[in-house]
Each structure stands twice: as structure tokens, then as C-alpha cells.
């Protein structure tokens, strides 16, 4: 449905105004000439407040994720592509194939339309590359000072292939713990572009949609027990979550965890621990140890899993501790993150 407006939306000099959230013609124009234009697909184009589609029987998953990030644009991505990748990944970590996304935008009055368009184009590209359309959406505008430019909430649905049962509570003692690649790239890329903390690095965010990798993995090893993407709080937090959900302990080897040198260097400098730094394009996989080798081969054959590695084992421990054998030859505990990670003073 193409609506016509007396004058085209002035994206180059325009700003988000309260009227863009009013429900009236101004909002209709923004939706038509910015969102529909870029996120174009059949369902969205129908212009309904919902998207209706047929599914065949089976197990369906649904996930939602609110995206608030500063800065909105960072090396290797922006809030637009991130909001697509983040939710696709949350759906995919059940072993599911994502089908469709819904997107809710909260825009701050005064935000430049040219930046909004950049974000929407980036979303459209990410969705198109992933083959997962944004089928419905919503826009609200808040007064200047009540938002941080743009917040995007995306919700995704997907279908789990028959015979797959992946969940955070299924890790068992003896299972192998795999990781799909280097850790900490996203968090360090974000930090390097924050206003009060500029440092030069070539590190790019690893933001990526992982459902293709997951699809290859479950096809090869349907018996995978757990999958999770180590986003906020990093690998340490994800392993603690899984350990506590499954009522097991974990033992990992520092030497086997892949890191980019620049991430390690930035963390040394800032007094941060890379195990706690966020990732947006990596997954942790827990599987029966006998399947680990085959799974690693499948992961390494995929572009998003080239540096996949086995990093440890699930152990019997009712206390649910995650411990690490250090490269130095000692052992330490890898605990939950407390509050936010703050740099050490000395």
C-alpha cells in the first residue's frame, strides 16, 4: 500500500519531531518513506498492525531483545544491524531456524532523520543477508531528553527442526564446552569508540547472525545439549548461567580460549578481564564429548566458526562453580560479574 504525501520527507535536514509519533499523517509518511522503503517485504507492505503467516506443525520459539547502545554507530556495525543479529541469535540458540522479526522503535525528538535512515538501511541489509524479514513494527517518539537517540526492540520467531532439544538446563558432567571464535571483540570495539575513552584499535565488532552456523551444527550433531551466545557479561557470565541452570560445574583452560591480541592488549591497558567482555557474533556450545571433534570440524568449515575451539569440560559440582586452569599453571574461579565491570585504579 503506497500512500502519497504532498511533499517528500526531508531526510537530509529533517529531525525526529513529536508529530512523527502522533499516529497522524506525519507518522504515516515517516513509516512509508523511511521504514517501508528500506525494510520492504510483502507482509510489512500490507500495512497492518500485525503480520499473519502460515506455519506447519512443530515446535516454535519466540524471543525478544531491547537494544540500547552508545554509541549508535561503532566499528563493525550499528544499533540497526545489532538489533537484527541479537534477536536472530537468541532464537537460533534453541537450534531453531528464525522465520520473522518484529521491530519497535523508540525515537527521541530531535534525532536526525539522516541517521535514522542509516540505521534502518543497516537493519534492512542485515535482515536481507540473514534471510529473515522484519514483518511488522511500531514507532513511538519521546520528548527530547527522555531517550538516547534511538532504542530498538526486536522480537523474533522461529521453528525448531524435529528431533532437536537444546536448552540451558541440559549440560551433563563429561560434556565438552566449545566456543565458535575469538572473545571480547564487540565490547572492545564499543569501548574504543566511546567519547571518554578513545583509543586506536583495528578491532571490529563481531556482530553477526549465527543461525546459519547453528543450522550446520544441529544437522551434523542433533544431540547438542546447550547453545548460548555470550553477550553482555561475556563468556564468564554465560558459563555461570549454564552451570547454575544445569546444576553442574565447569572447568575451562585459559590456554585454549581464542582471543585477538588487540583485545587482550586493550584489556591489559584498561584493567578489564576479557572473559567478561561482550560478544555479538559468538556462541558457546555444550555437547557430548564424543561429538566434540565432529562439531568442531563443522564449525570451522563455516565462515563464522573458523577459530572454533574446545575450551573445557562440564564437571560434577553441585555448587555450580566455574573454574579455570590458568595459562600460568594455577587455577582460579571464574565468577559471575558483580555490578558492571569497573576499571581498577592502580
Amino acid at each position: 500500500m503506497k500512500q502519497r504525501f504532498p511533499q517528500r520527507l526531508n531526510i537530509r535536514d529533517g529531525l525526529v519531531e513529536m508529530g512523527h509519533g502522533s499516529g497522524g499523517r506525519t507518522m504515516a509518511q515517516l513509516i512509508n518513506e523511511l521504514f517501508f522503503k528500506h525494510l520492504d517485504n510483502e507482509l510489512l507492505g500490507q500495512g497492518n498492525d500485525q503480520a499473519a503467516f502460515d506455519v506447519v506443525g512443530g515446535r516454535m520459539v519466540m524471543s525478544t531483545d531491547g537494544h540500547v547502545i552508545s554509541p549508535l554507530f561503532f566499528p563493525g556495525g550499528d544499533i540497526g544491524s545489532l538489533s537484527v543479529h541479537g534477536t536472530i541469535n537468541d532464537v537460533a540458540m534453541s537450534g531453531a531456524q528464525p522465520l520473522s522479526l518484529a521491530a519497535g522503535f523508540i525515537l527521541e525528538e530531535g534525532f536526525p532523520l539522516v541517521d535514522l535512515e542509516r540505521i534502518v538501511i543497516s537493519m534492512a541489509e542485515a535482515a536481507s543477508l540473514a534471510g529473515v524479514p522484519v514483518s511488522t513494527g511500531d514507532t513511538k517518539v519521546v520528548e527530547r531528553g527522555n531517550g538516547d537517540g534511538v532504542f530498538i526492540t526486536t522480537t523474533g520467531i522461529g521453528m525448531v527442526p524435529p528431533g532437536i532439544n537444546i536448552s540451558g538446563h541440559l549440560a551433563q558432567p563429561g560434556d565438552a564446552i566449545l566456543i565458535s571464535g575469538t572473545l571480547g571483540d564487540h565490547g572492545v570495539a564499543i569501548m574504543s569508540s566511546r567519547e571518554n575513552l578513545e583509543f586506536e584499535t583495528r578491532i571490529m565488532s563481531d556482530s553477526a547472525a549465527l543461525h546459519g552456523l547453528v543450522s550446520d551444527m544441529v544437522r551434523s550433531v542433533p544431540a547438542i545439549h546447550c547453545l548460548r551466545d555470550p553477550t553482555r557479561g561475556g563468556l564468564a557470565t554465560t558459563l555461570n548461567e549454564l552451570a547454575s541452570q544445569s546444576g553442574v560445574g565447569m572447568s575451562i583452560y585459559e590456554d585454549s580460549i581464542p582471543f585477538n591480541d588487540e583485545v587482550v592488549a586493550a584489556c591489559e591497558l584498561l584493567g578489564l578481564d576479557p572473559l567478561y567482555i561482550a560478544n555479538e557474533g559468538k556462541l558457546v556450545c555444550i555437547c557430548p564429548s564424543g561429538d566434540a571433534q565432529r562439531l568442531l570440524e563443522v564449525m570451522r568449515a563455516h565462515p563464522l566458526g573458523r577459530q572454533a575451539a574446545e575450551i573445557g569440560r562440564v564437571i560434577d559440582d553441585p555448587l555450580g562453580f566455574v573454574t579455570m586452569e590458568t595459562r600460568f599453571g594455577g587455577s582460579r574461579m571464574v565468577d559471575w560479574l558483580a555490578g558492571e565491570q569497573l576499571p581498577r585504579i592502580c
Binding site: N196, E268, F328, A338, G339, L342, R344, I345, C346
Partner: protein, 373 residues
Amino acid sequence: MKYIDEFRQQDLAQTLEAAIKREVDPARQYQLMEFCGGHTHAIFRYGIQDLMPGNISFVHGPGCPVCVLPSGRISDAIGITLKHDLILCTYGDLLRVPAGNRKTLQRVKAEGADVRMVYSTQDVLGIARENPDREVVFFAIGFETTTPPTAVAIKQAQAEGLKNFSVFCNHVLTPAAIQNILESPEVREIGTLCIDGFFGPSHVSSVIGSRPYEFFAEEYQKPVVIAGFEPLDMMQSALMLVRQINEGRHEVENEYTRVVSREGNSKAQGMVAEVMELRRTFEWRGLGEVPYSALKIKQSYAEFDAEKRFELGDTRTPDIPGCECPNILRGVKKPTDCKLFGTLCTPDNPIGSCMVSSEGACAAYWSYGRFRN
């Protein structure tokens, strides 16, 4: 990574581990105090205790800058921030340390106060330049390592004529604190705390040099080995301490020769001496009043002294009942001896200061070492 990996090599660690095990006297105990929080952090992060024979134990000292700051100073900082609606800038983990009423800077920030975390004093000057209509106070804490940058900022502010910048100075001195521990009744009279030797600070010593430790090594007959913060530095230094103890020596030895000299950084020392002078006394959490253990801003730079600008500096708040931080900071008790440890006091909800910073003994025990017990 170059200059880092070299100091974390497992094969060298094994060689040192074997040497230490060969040289320790099985008939005695070795209690080694690491003064610095950075060393405490390294011990736990790399699992160094695992590589030591059973009769070497580490006693964690008070060298964690946020841990020793008395809560009254935090109450003062919160007080002026709210009263004068000013911008208060400080370093990372201080934001989470509870003041007397258990309020933290992080909490008052959430309530609307303008509290900002900075990475350097240069950031504070930038904020002051950008906000000429508002008062900007730097809540300065730390040992000799963080003091020179504060002095530089004050000199820079004077040269630029920055009228809205001032410093709430809480810089403290390492040698005075070590001496205070050695003078404590637990060490001298009661004998509940036995310290056989010290790992000397690394970053602090790069500024003050190794000479300031010579007095008390001689006076109290305790060996000191200045140690770097990398795990191999600590292993090598442990071996050097064991040798001194075995041979009955009590000297200041320097393991961290790639950075620390006997005289230290005279330029940094000169800068600090120009802007700051000794306080007659200063309250430390855990140690109480310690004479000549901290610095204040000199009269000639009084216009940049937040204590004078806002009439500050006398709030005293009692320690929290049940909290063993004072004893833990002196090495008299271990974190696990505290009733609050792991029950009411955890890193997510710290009551005592030692649970706040990752350099604090309680936080290090909780995060890295809890599984041992």
C-alpha cells in the same frame, strides 16, 4: 603480547616452583605480606598459591586504594555533590564503596547527582573546560602512583586559570602504612600476626624508588623484595624472600629492576612536592589515625583545594558493626573469618570496602578463591 607473555610463561613458573620447593625449610612457616592490592589480584588471577609449597602463605595487606579510604570521606564527597550541585569526578571502583549510611556514589548518581567516572585527571580538566558555569571536583584517591597526575592537573589548571576546578585530595603514602602495620600490637606484642617478609609495591616504587623501604627493613628486621605485578615477578620475588629469610637477612632487594630504581622518578616526586605537603595525620580504614601518612594541597595552591573551597574534611563515620575489614586490611584476619563474608556481604552487595574493589582481599577471595574452601 610482547612484554606481557614473557612474564607469564608456564615453563619458567615451573622452574621457579621447583626452586622454591627445594629451598624452603620444611620445619618452618613463611608468612609473606603483599602490601599492594595489585599483588593480591595477581595471586588470585593466576592461581599463584597453587604453585607454592604448603608452608608459604600470603597475607594480604592494605594496599588497595579504595579499601583504606574511610567512609567519612565518601560521605563528604556525596555531601558536597548534592549540596552544591557540582560535577564530581573519580576513578572506577570508588563508585561502589558504601559511605557510612551505606549510600554509594553510584546510588546518588542514579538519584540524579552528576557523578562521572574518569580514566585520567586530563578527563577532569576537559570536563571543567566544557562546563565553565559549574564547579568540577576531582575526588582524588590512591597511593604514590596516582598522586603525580593529580599534581600535574592542579598545575595545569593554575596555568590555564581554570576557576571551576578543584581537588578533594585523599592521596596516601605507602611507607607510613607499612610502618604502622609493623608497629601494631598484633605484630609487636601479642604476636597474633606474624609477618616474615614483604613483597614491596611495584607501581608505587616506580615513583618513590626502593630507598624509602630501607629504614624499616633495618629497623624492624624484615626483608622486602620489590616485586612486579606479573605472576613470574611474584614467583621470583617469593624465592628471593625465602632466601633472605633462610639466611637471616633483612634487606631491600629489587626484583622489578626493569622499572624501579633506588631513587625513583625524581621528576614526579618534584611535581608532587611542589603542589602537596604532608598531613600531620590521616584516618585510614582499618589502621585508624596514621601520622604523616597522607598528602594535602599546599597553601600556595589553596584555590584548587576542595576541602577549603567547600569547608570539608571532618566527617567521621563509625565502622560497620560485624564488618572485619579493619582486621582484614591489617592481615590479622582472613576474609573467611568474617561473619558477613558471603552471607550479607558479597560483590553484588558489598558492605565492607574490601569486597568492592577487585583488588580488595574479600572480593579476590570471593571471585577467584572461594572454591578452595
